[in-house]
């Protein structure tokens, strides 16, 4: 017990620094992924053949290959083509592109669920397609997507752990360096696992709060009065 306490006193600041980077990476990846995912899903549902093809290509590529591989291609592969990014940027790009592909699928599902009828209704009062998508379909689709989409922030938080392999100083990287200092890998990684658990729990609680606050009265996925 005492050893446990000592461990935390000694290493908590370091772990928290790492956790901070983890949270930062998650937020960045999530935001970039959201924009990409939104564009890709809109392209898939409302775009012409060419745009749809691009969107599908992107989505299939980033969902069909491991994140770690995408990370390595960006970090090790691109310099071969003359494009070099800092390790932080590489992590950001990989996480963002990867998350975007998954978010696109969540959003596409709810766009389709809302789709046809509401599009007709919007157009019937003279709104253009674009206006209807922006004012009518998206507000509903985004809310509808929240329960399923809530999987993504948590998943992304966990995914950030692999970027330690390109030496980005997030939590897992700190774990590795601490383990080297304590010669106790199992204990160290267990402690780090606890920190991750705490982060996941907090994130999850936050997401459920968001879900409750944005609920539209009387409108859930099933069960509408008519």
């Amino acid at each position: 017990m005492i050893a446990f306490y000592e461990f935390f006193v000694r290493f908590l600041p370091d772990m928290l620094k790492g956790a901070g980077i983890t949270v930062l990476l998650t937020a960045e990846g999530l935001s970039a992924g959201f924009i990409l995912g939104l564009l890709a899903s809109l392209a898939r549902v409302y775009g012409n053949k060419f745009i749809r093809g691009l969107a599908v290509g992107y989505i299939e590529l980033f969902r069909g290959t491991p994140l770690l591989m995408q990370l390595f291609i960006i970090y090790y592969g691109l310099p071969g083509l003359g494009i070099t990014f800092s390790r932080e940027w590489c992590a950001f790009l990989a996480l963002g592109l990867n998350s975007g592909a998954y978010q696109a699928e969540y959003l596409r599902g709810s766009l389709l669920a809302i789709g046809d009828g509401q599009m007709m209704a919007g157009r019937s009062i003279g709104m253009s397609r674009a206006k209807t998508i922006w004012h009518i379909i998206l507000p509903q689709a985004l809310r509808l997507a929240i329960p399923a989409w809530s999987n993504e922030p948590v998943s992304l938080l966990k995914s950030t752990a692999v970027v330690f392999l390109i030496a980005v100083p997030e939590l897992m990287a700190k774990a590795k360096s601490i383990a080297a200092q304590t010669y106790d890998p199992i204990g160290t990684y267990l402690a780090v696992a606890l920190v991750y658990l705490a982060m996941v729990y907090l994130l999850d609680a936050f997401l459920r709060w968001v879900e409750r606050t944005t609920r539209i009265p009387g409108f859930e996925m099933e069960g509408r009065k008519a």
């Binding site: 009828g117 509401q118 007709m120 209704a121 919007g122 157009r123 019937s124 009062i125 003279g126 709104m127 253009s128 206006k131 004012h135 009518i136 507000p139 509903q140 809310r143 539209i216 009265p217 009387g218 409108f219 509408r224 009065k225 008519a226």
Partner: protein, 258 residues
């Protein structure tokens, strides 16, 4: 003799191998209420959607106020401000309150200032009898109430013509009356209306003219008296007998349509 406010000429719609309707010539005069009846699946709904350009047509033209709205380059969005539509499953915007549903066309399409839009929206909600439900969401309203809000939403745009696509078909029987009542009032106020429905009582009482459509073309049209009591075609007679038998029973139980 003024020109009809709305006219279709040789309007045709084909879907794959099927001819939905062919060479439909329909003239609607200002202030008239036209009811279109006929067996399900004969393209009546599609006809309405071709008229307000929600669906493209495969031949023919549509004229509103003597201007061809099906002409290339004509702004379809603007046309839809002038031709209002009410759908069978209401299609209210679920994320907006009743008031916002009615207002959004005014603020986002007509670019009205918010306070003026609110005033007008409340007026329209009042017209359909739902001013007290302005802050309710569609999920909190009954079917009949939702449909009335949908009518208010369409009316708020001050359309020249109102299209109703089987407005009561998705409603529980006891809710049909409140919607038909609103529609009858509109007709009395001389709104130009084109209504697809199976409600024969409404057709008989409120329509200025009834159009019987079957298998993609207009079989017969005329005043309610003409069609119900002196139908020229056998098919018309057959169809009306079958329907009124069913609805006649309903009417006797309900009392007269208000």
């Amino acid at each position: 003799m003024t020109n009809p406010i709305l006219e279709t000429r040789n309007l045709t719609k084909i879907y794959g191998q099927n001819v939905i309707f062919k060479d439909i010539n329909l003239k609607v005069n200002e202030g008239e209420t036209i009811v279109i009846i006929g067996p399900s699946g004969t393209g009546k709904s599609t006809l309405l959607r071709c008229i307000n350009l929600l669906t493209s047509n495969d031949g023919g033209q549509v004229f509103l106020d003597d201007k061809e709205i099906t002409a290339k380059g004509h702004n379809a969005d603007e046309v839809r401000q002038q031709i209002g539509m009410v759908f069978q499953n209401f299609l209210l915007f679920n994320h907006l309150t009743a008031l916002d549903n009615v207002m959004i066309g005014l603020t986002k399409v007509k670019k009205m200032p918010k306070d003026k839009a609110k005033e007008k929206a409340m007026e329209e909600l009042n017209r359909v009898g739902l001013a007290d439900r302005a802050d309710h969401y569609p999920g909190q309203l009954s079917g009949g109430q939702q449909q009335r809000v949908a009518i208010a939403r369409a009316l708020a745009m001050d359309p020249r013509v109102m299209l109703f696509d089987e407005p009561t078909s998705a409603l529980d029987p006891e809710l049909i009356g409140e919607v038909l009542g609103v529609m009858a009032k509109l007709a009395k106020d001389r709104m130009t209306m084109l209504v697809v429905t199976h409600e024969m009582g409404f057709a008989r009482e409120v329509a200025d003219r009834i159009v019987f459509m079957e298998k993609g073309s207009i079989v017969e049209e005329g005043s309610p008296d003409d069609l119900f009591y002196h139908p020229k075609h056998d098919r018309t007679r057959e169809f009306l007998w079958k329907i009124t038998e069913l609805y006649g029973k309903k009417e006797k139980e309900k009392g007269a349509v208000e």
